[in-house]
Symmetry: D3
Subunit: 251 residues, 6 copies
């Protein structure tokens, strides 16, 4: 039996609150169980130096936690004067994942910055951030569409992520912090709406995992991520039509 009485293949309750912060072009507060992440997407009218003069856009992400998002207070990275390895790894992951479903050719020399700030952490902050960041980014592109700055939504497919793992030799879906801290294996999986993989990162620091366990974990993730897509569609409203049309054209 899991700590919160869930079945092994059961996600925690998901909620997304649109327009949570008023200034950003796209803003969502995503809640996954007790994990809460503010995802704000900002449009900047230029691209980083390595992308200049190619007529293409760029998407990048930043991730941070409030000092007391966790059980113990963490020192701010601004006070330490540097970003930790863990933070860099996560923000690089979010950025790569988002770019996999965006058509960079279709929104000019603009950068979408997606800021994922964890207000409260209880496991799975990076996968919650990806799931919410996709929505915030899509809303921001929706704004550009509304202003006629771009002509079509440059989103090729849906994108969501969850974690799976092995705990006491059972494979389970969507680990909360308590489970995560005891798990033998921890795997983060990012998928697109058409069922393809974008990222798959499995780690067994104290333990190792077999091919069979790998297959089981992938199966659980596929089930969970499908449910996340339903939530995303609900909150995106009319923007779904644009994504669905793009998916048909690409297939």
């Amino acid at each position: 039996m899991r700590t919160d009485n869930r079945n092994n293949d059961e996600l925690r309750p998901i909620h997304m609150e649109r327009d949570y912060v008023k200034h950003p072009e796209g803003s969502v507060l995503i809640t996954v169980g007790e994990t809460k992440v503010i995802c704000n997407a900002s449009i900047e009218d230029r691209v980083p130096p390595f992308m200049r003069n190619q007529g293409k856009g760029w998407v990048t992400a930043e991730y941070a936690m409030l000092p007391r998002a966790t059980q113990q207070r963490n020192i701010r990275e601004s006070s330490k004067g540097k970003v930790s390895g863990r933070t860099m790894e996560i923000q690089r992951l979010i950025g790569r994942a988002l770019r996999s479903v965006v058509d960079l050719e279709k929104f000019g020399e603009r950068t979408v910055w997606v800021d994922c700030d964890v207000i409260q952490a209880d496991g799975g902050t990076r996968t919650a951030a990806i799931t919410g960041a996709f929505v915030a980014m899509t809303l921001a592109f929706g704004e550009l569409l509304k202003q006629n700055t771009i002509k079509e939504l440059p989103i090729k497919d849906y994108l969501a992520a969850t974690s799976v793992g092995v705990l006491k030799d059972e494979t389970i879906l969507d680990l909360c912090y308590e489970e995560d801290s005891q798990a033998q294996v921890d795997m983060n999986i990012v998928m697109t709406g058409n069922g393809e993989f974008v990222e798959l990162q499995g780690t067994g620091e104290e333990a190792t995992f077999s091919y069979t366990q790998l297959q089981e974990m992938v199966g659980l993730a596929q089930k969970g991520i499908k449910e996340l897509f339903d939530q995303q569609k609900e909150i995106l409203g009319d923007l779904n039509k644009h994504i669905d049309r793009n998916r048909q054209q690409n297939s």
Copy 2:
């Protein structure tokens, strides 16, 4: 007439949501008009090096903004690798203000860290942070009291802050961002429940101000801060009794 139709001596609507984040010993989301600040107070069981072996506690504050709390996205201070002068000035101010109403002798060698994170900014973030930080800190001390770690609440008096200024030659209370960016003079005032001043910082970058204007601004601030104390009392519930008792003993 002010941008949001307020009278010159009228505060914006205030709201405080207690226990906004679950991990901290004390947590409040304070909303002043469109300005929103999460104030989290954490208790650490040791003091910084310069305070060691004196049998006393310490109170310190940190302040930050989400990158897109503002109309334009700001670069994260962790990415820049250093904390800006503005941030340092504000967090030093919050810390000093909180310490003015705390009896450091009465909670052992502990540090209270109060993190003020601005989720959405519309002027007056530092004064909102002080007003909310006082509540978060008091709630955290309340937890220590409940756990019998301390025997009395080490809070000598209430503490709140607001801004006043001169705009088009009129003195006004509680400036929103639009007003603040056009004001000739900007003054932040921190007061205690017994009507004494803790900090008073007035600045006229483009302009200067007369003695009469100084008196008028102080008068407006006194009125506004009294209303903030009412809000604090409402949210602190039973902890008021402890503060009121301490006030009587000190007078």
Copy 3:
């Protein structure tokens, strides 16, 4: 009785030595009691990025102490790799104060850097720095005038600063280090020649202060700053005429 036998409303002896360092466009060594600050003003023929292409100039200040300006040696900020919060707060204050009496429209896209380096500290270094920085800056503008680079002195009024405070319940003027370290309240006040306020920063870390004490402190500061203007006029020589003419035009 004060430590150095002064009356409560008495400044320490002031001295300013013009052209103390040979390279800068304007240079002054200001001595206030035992506090000594070298103020050097440098003209740079460009403005910072945020001021470009507006046809206006900029004035900024930097403040530092020699490691052994104080009783205990301080670690250099260059060795620590970062500027402290205290230093940032002070240099932002000096810059803002100077800009309040300068007409940025009248000297083209130039920056005046005013470096205030404390050689010996005995309280009141920031207010001594402001008083000396005004003279150094004015001398530097005087050089531009002499070279016909500008046509009129872009100084609208005199500017000086002093500190006041409450010590053993008495309000006193111009605190030396020993007084400052024991004071209940410490207030720095910056004023212009016409008696208006530019900055007013009062702090009671351990204590608080009443409205009456605020009024008394402001009164002492007004008296002291008037005496500082006399010193400034003496050392500025012919440049006074330009300032006086500008003051008449503005009134």
Copy 4:
């Protein structure tokens, strides 16, 4: 046909030179095709703060490239004053992987630092580093054994890594730089001697990958890593006996 005429399931030539640098307790130069990495293992007689007083050891890794290991010169991370996200990600990966086959309980409060310095890069530097680092670490533990500092080799199993990917829709083993830069999918896999997974990191930045492709890539990696184990055994000599004995005891 691949750039260097290899079959899709063929590794590049592997070579390991033992005792390449004279000072470290364990030292190997590993060559995988044109990729060359110096792996030096150092024993330090203490552990990092978070591991103190637990009677256990720690294993950590650092990774760097010479500025001109690559086709274009890279700026040194010491000159930039910070370690890049990519470097942090890689050194965290190497450290985690090594710890998965080490029994931290069996070598006292010591730290093994494994430095992986890339002299020449041609794709697969992180997997070559893991394969070489395992050998350098094992040699260093062999030294402790020889000096009777420890009684048994704290290595539970062999450890090696390789990369697989999808290029022009074909799944291939051990990508060189030219292949890697064009691949649709890139996956790094770390395995132990008993055929279990330690890490599996698959990324499709521009593209995505299907479940079938995932299975094919895993199959190729299993084949390649087996060949790497043969190389490791050859160079480790007598130390194999210790590892084999530990493997039997654990099974």
Copy 5:
């Protein structure tokens, strides 16, 4: 008798391996006794800001050690976030020395970066670096010549360096680490092919040295450096002709 049985005026065995790393325009592994330094020269098609628009080139050097090049592991400078004073001093020395024999006017607005990375240290790393860096730089210019990017080799003369010192009151040539750590005086001398001095840096931290000892040390260095020139000529092959021609023109 010296630790390794050398005569006082005897160099350690020297070896240089050309094209040690494949990517750089010029690459040499120089071995002086047990000291090994990889010297890689890279050509960049632009110059640093302070050299722009002068039609001239620039030569600069960087120096680093692998963490375990020494008997005790050193913390990486990238992890410390700053380059040590010793490293800066050495790389400034190498750069200055190289520029003394290069005609900056003759290769356009290009920068030659010479990276000297110490793989194994046993005394004399900075002088070995200079001797090897000269060869790597010359090979890189040779590449530009071969590609017809430049018309003549911009090298005015040979350049090599060695160390001399006083140990137990005897003056000795080319100190190994053990000798260096016990020496009373340590002097590094850089000379050109025509017997002139480029740099001469003598230090007696615990001791001092007389004029006679200075003369003896200079004499030993002159002898040793001549032998280094022979090694350089052997490895440079056909490029010698260009240098010899330039030397004749300059004399």
Copy 6:
């Protein structure tokens, strides 16, 4: 003829003002021509970690320039967040030089910090700093003597420094900035009272120098440094006796 009409073997006018700053244990303002350096020596009652528990003291130096000590304003190293290579080189040189005449065994586990801050620069700042730092350090040790903290002055000999160079093929003593910036060769020489060398650093960036020129430069330096010793003796007063006694005992 030299810029300031001096003979080739003539020093600029030297002046030293004792007790220039009131707080340090030893303080001197040294003026060499137009170069002015404040040298402050501070005693700290502990040694750096690498010197602990050896019963010995340590001497270290720091060097900095005011931003406008030079003709062009320099950015503060504290603002840049790092100390330049030039600064590090100079402060390491000053520290080494001072230690060569101090008996570290004779003042307990104390550190002498000598801060050399250049107020105005006109060439030769590092040699002026050494000459002044010796006096400040000796005065600080004199204080310890007066307080009976130490029993004898731990100074073995006098120490002073000057620069020599080659300009238009003439060897000259004590170069001012204008000469220094045009010189072919620049050499800094540090000597002790008994005529021995401590440091000798000669550099010919654009040019090289012959053995004859080396001898001439050394001769000029010997002459100039003797004159500096006379100045030091005059200002040190009674402390000379202690140094002279120590010199006799050592010879």
